[in-house]
């Protein structure tokens, strides 16, 4: 019975964690899956978003979720600038492979060092009424507890990811983004500027770092180097879901969240980072297109 109780609780925590994972990886799914820009710095930008949230919450007392929404336009603008530079220096001259990766790795490093210089290496938290309490109950003799901070992050993540998915599926712009993924040349023949589409899409991808950062600081205490721990997670999710498939990313995020939560419960939390890597390597070795992938992986 204790095993069952542990299992149910781990499962609930895993699903909630999966929602959070979906929020931090959906931006990368757009950048990497749809635009072929391997934004290695994505998790670090999420951490940057978390620190912006921390400042707004700590100095002005703004609710973290609201703060995340406030900073999102700034991240959109940042994404616009980064993509413009990336296009100018790499994509236009088709020197993407080696130097593009090095460029994003350099950005990762610069962002992290700047965060360390500004905020130090202490762990930071935010204050909000829903942080620190949990909702508990008994169903069929099994006690379970749902922390409100995970629940609120799950709800916001759900709105963000499902909303973005609907936007990319239904809207004209979403179809243009998918088209740019399939054939840039054809899109420009249709009278659409593919670079503009990519610039906006990359901006949207990076814009999610604002809200995802707010969710991150709600879910866990953060410090500048924490972004590294999530590199394995976000890439495992995007690759497992399949490049170019937003709904695949959501499913993969759930799978990884549940897997990590079960491993953390039954083997100890220090083993959790190994889960994402095993999944990443397994997928690359046996099914490189991922669960719902359509892309070319060779």
């Amino acid at each position: 019975m204790i095993f069952l109780e542990l299992f149910i609780n781990a499962l609930i925590a895993g699903i909630l964690l999966g929602g959070f994972f979906a929020a931090i990886s959906i931006g990368l799914s757009i950048c990497f899956g749809l635009l072929d820009t391997v934004n290695l710095a994505h998790p670090t930008f999420v951490v940057a978003g978390a620190f912006c949230t921390f400042v707004l919450n700590d100095r002005l007392g703004i609710d973290p979720i609201l703060a995340g929404i406030i900073i999102t336009p700034f991240f959109f603008a940042l994404g616009w600038v980064i993509y413009s530079a990336y296009y100018q220096f790499f994509e236009r001259t088709s020197a993407v492979a080696l130097r593009g990766l090095a460029f994003f790795f350099g950005l990762l490093f610069i962002t992290e060092v700047v965060l360390i210089m500004v905020f130090g290496v202490d762990h930071r938290l935010v204050n909000a009424p829903y942080i620190g309490k949990s909702f508990s109950g008994v169903v069929a003799g099994i006690e379970f507890a749902v922390p409100y901070r995970l629940l609120s992050a799950f709800v916001v993540a759900g709105i963000l990811t499902l909303g973005l998915q609907a936007f990319l599926d239904r809207s004209y712009f979403g179809r243009a983004t998918r088209a740019v993924h399939q054939d840039m040349m054809a899109l420009s023949l249709m009278g659409v500027d593919p670079v503009m589409v990519k610039r906006i899409a990359f901006g949207i991808g990076l814009g999610t770092c604002g809200i995802a950062g707010a969710l991150m600081i709600i879910v866990i205490p953060i410090e500048p180097a924490v972004g590294r721990l999530f590199i394995g997670n976000v890439f495992a999710i995007v690759v497992l879901g399949g490049l170019g498939s937003i709904s695949g990313t959501l499913v993969a995020a759930m799978i990884l969240g549940i897997a990590e939560s079960l491993v953390a419960t039954f083997f100890g939390p220090s083993w959790a980072p190994a889960v994402s890597f095993s999944i990443l390597l397994g997928v690359l070795a046996f099914r490189p297109t991922g669960l719902f992938g359509v892309g070319d992986t060779r």
Partner: protein, 323 residues
């Protein structure tokens, strides 16, 4: 005859010079700082065998180095294996790791290999954190043996009977030898069939495959050589630091440096990483003493981004163009 083996003679002279320096009585800090710079020459050269010649980026330098370090620590914990034995074992284990990672991911696009190596360093750190035999998360102290012998010859003796007066001198000589050996290996690869094959892969993998270049095999060979050289550089690391914990062994600083040094020096020839490592390594040794280490890392990150965007052929590229 002499002209033909100019480079090899230079290597031998350099090793002899390194040995002579150890026999002269100078400040021990020189050996400490020079070790770090030479270690970076080795790491950058090893990285460039795969990254520069074949165009496959390895972000997992810290992982390979850490595996080398922890192989050495495992051997020290298990029994008294000499420092040379530790280095050879570390090179072997890291080479196997490179082969395994390469086997899983090198058949795909280059980005997947890059991502896998980046995640690798983090996961290996998790494994070591959970492994108490090699110190776990708390780290471990290493006591270098007092009077080590190799093949019956006394190597280090403080009283002056051995070849070297202290352990730092021995380590300096070893790393100088290994650094030169790595550069020699890189040059042999570059001039040989393997290097030409890797260059073909870098230019256009599909075309290379169609022309009959065994792409996967060449990439696996390059990854294994590159990994084992990094492992050897890691194998000597615990003896140099005498204390090691997972955050030190798996420091992301190694990844950025091993990437930035060849990129800044120039990735297309063996001398590029050497120039980059000597330059950046020396600047860092000075910067760590004079300004903060965070600022030092920031400078490297900014320099990497600048060189990658504006001067993609590195410092060596400037001189090549003038000809």
């Amino acid at each position: 005859m002499v002209m033909r083996y100019k480079f090899e003679i230079g290597c031998v002279l350099f090793v002899a010079l390194a040995f002579t320096i150890t026999q002269v009585d100078i400040n021990n800090f020189f050996f400490f700082a020079a070790f770090a710079v030479l270690q970076y020459v080795m790491i950058a050269t090893a990285w460039n065998i795969l990254g520069g010649y074949a165009g496959y980026i390895n972000f997992g330098t810290a992982g390979f180095l850490g595996v080398g370090s922890y192989t050495a620590i495992g051997l020290i914990q298990w029994s008294d294996v000499s420092i040379v034995g530790q280095i050879i074992a570390a090179a072997f284990v890291s080479g196997l790791l490179g082969l395994a990672i390469g086997y899983f991911t090198l058949r795909l696009k280059g980005v997947f290999f890059a991502i896998a190596t980046l995640a690798l360093a983090i996961v290996l750190e998790t494994v070591v954190n959970n492994w108490d035999f090699v110190g776990g998360a708390a780290g471990i102290s290493i006591l270098p043996p007092r009077n080590p012998e190799l093949l019956g010859v006394l190597i280090v003796d403080r009283k002056g009977g051995g070849i070297f007066d202290n352990n730092k001198e021995l380590l300096f000589f070893l790393i100088a030898f290994m650094a030169i050996f790595s550069v020699w290996v890189a040059r042999v690869i570059e001039k040989g069939k393997l290097g030409r094959g890797l260059n073909a892969i870098k230019d256009n993998e599909e075309a290379a495959e169609c022309m009959g270049v065994p792409t996967l095999r060449l990439k696996l060979i390059a990854t294994t050589i590159s990994g084992s050289l990094m492992g050897a550089a890691g194998g000597i690391f615990p003896s140099y630091l005498t204390f090691i914990d997972p955050p030190t062994a798996f420091n992301l600083e190694f990844a950025i440096n091993s990437l930035a040094m060849p990129m800044i020096g120039g990735t297309f020839t063996w001398i590029g990483p050497v120039v980059g490592a000597l330059l950046l390594g020396t600047v860092q040794q000075v910067a760590i003493v004079t300004i903060s280490s965070e600022l030092n890392l920031l400078i490297i990150g900014v320099m990497l981004v600048l060189f990658v965007t504006i001067a993609p052929h590195g410092i060596v590229g400037w001189f090549m163009k003038k000809k």
